[in-house]
Symmetry: C2
């Protein structure tokens, strides 16, 4: 592979990583967006609007997404204690369990992807990505 510019290398890397995550999702009967949803819910119990913002979706898209996950028993909607209009979305036990499996799979697959790197390079990549994320999400 020839030396790519920053744009192409980042884009291709991203498609590769997302592709891996998509495969993991598929192997566990989920779509990529549902995998993301479960990932977000691992350590939060947000409302629908918050979820939609976080995932970059319209709030109407969230309704269907959460509907389907709820029907599968992966999460539940509870009324918010602070706001009568709002809802708290949280993982069920089954959802938490599946999220752990997905997380372990992702760990394995992503680490396999980075096998070609030395430990130092892997740490460097991680640090650079973190730096970039800090800058980008602070905006």
């Amino acid at each position: 592979m020839e030396d790519l510019g920053i744009v192409d290398s980042l884009a291709q890397l991203s498609f590769l990583v997302i592709g891996e995550l998509g495969q993991i999702a598929g192997e566990n009967g989920l779509s990529l967006i549902q995998l993301r949803l479960l990932g977000v819910l691992r350590d939060r119990t947000p409302g629908m609007r918050e979820l939609a913002t976080h995932l970059g979706l319209d709030k109407s898209s969230m309704t269907g997404l959460v509907d389907r996950a709820e029907k599968r028993g992966l999460l539940r909607r509870d009324p918010s204690p602070h706001d009568g209009r709002a809802v708290q979305v949280s993982l069920t036990d089954e959802g938490h369990q599946l999220a752990r499996v997905l997380s372990a799979d992702a760990d394995r697959r992503i680490k396999a992807l980075t096998e070609v790197l030395t430990d130092a390079q892997r740490a460097q990549l991680s640090r650079l990505a973190s730096t970039l994320l800090t800058g980008a999400t602070r905006i």
Copy 2:
């Protein structure tokens, strides 16, 4: 932002980059997958099977994707000169023009993302990503 592991930092970075590309696509009346399709076709005239493999889709999914892009005048199907069953997909002039716009947009947006990095860091990230891609796609 705390220091993430290699898995989370790569996953989050990837979602961020793909999100940017998706926004660029949207601003130009395309979906992310159509942006990818145009990107692939910039320097190739593959058949449907080849395209499907490259994009990780079923061949039946390709038909619809190419159908819609063809209807928009972005690409065309020509019969393959070597195989009576096969088809050669190629960009129209309009498709090439749009692909150039998308590419320029991506350049701008991804470079803005990496603004927090020094030039040296950016080069390092690009090199690490390229290395990783080389290893991953050689498998």
